[in-house]
Amino acid sequence: MPDAAGGEARDRAGDAAEAAHPRHRLDPLLQRPVPFSIAALLAAADEAEFAFVRDSVELSDSALSKQASALEAAGYVAVRKGFVGKFPRTWLSMTPQGRAAFAAHLATLREIAG
């Protein structure tokens, strides 16, 4: 059955090509648009105020809290709370693990973009 054998060979080749596709190296969390936007801001910063990230990514406080918690749980983002004068402030920063993941994700995107 040469046709069946040929079909199997084509399937195997297809599977190999599929596995080699750069999208397999994309970070699942950073593939989501909002975590990507937050990570893109924080990757360019030593640290950023919660309000700056909220305004830049155009999210509500609660939505950003939820997304920041997800990134924090993944070990990508660190949250620091403090005061400026009498006013409480929250700062977000990227961990070394987060920076490495974002850099790898961005490199893969560049590969896909060509």
């Binding site: 648009p33 936007s37 360019a44 105020e49």
Partner: protein, 154 residues
Amino acid sequence: MDPHDSPGTDRPEPAAAAAFIREAEGAARRVAVEGSASASAWLTGLAAASAMYLFALGWYARSEEGPILALSIAYAVTLGVLSVVHLRRMRAASLGFSRRFGLAVGAWGGVFAVSLTLGLLVFPGVPVYFAIAAIATAVPPLWGSLRELVVVRA
């Protein structure tokens, strides 16, 4: 399902990947402008205020405590206002900012302390010395300010 949880495209096309890359570049620019522009302005202000303070000190002998005190208060108030206007409003620090800023302010502090000490103890009332000290003191913050502008323009 929360719209913010929506998964990204399973197989990003080149155009979609390029859009993500553009977004990342835009985010980097936004952070640079937010963080480094304010810091650059503050460092320029620090350079100008310090240079004027030291230059003005050169015209007074050590015994003229009144004018020296008035100058010192004016200098402190200027730095306070500059800090409130430029530093307290900074909502993001660009990558590597802490190190660059620490270096510029640390160098300024060292040169300023040495210049002031020598000026008051060894060269009181010598305008030429204080003019040279004013220029030397302004160099580190101006250098830091230029570094931040380079970050903004990059």
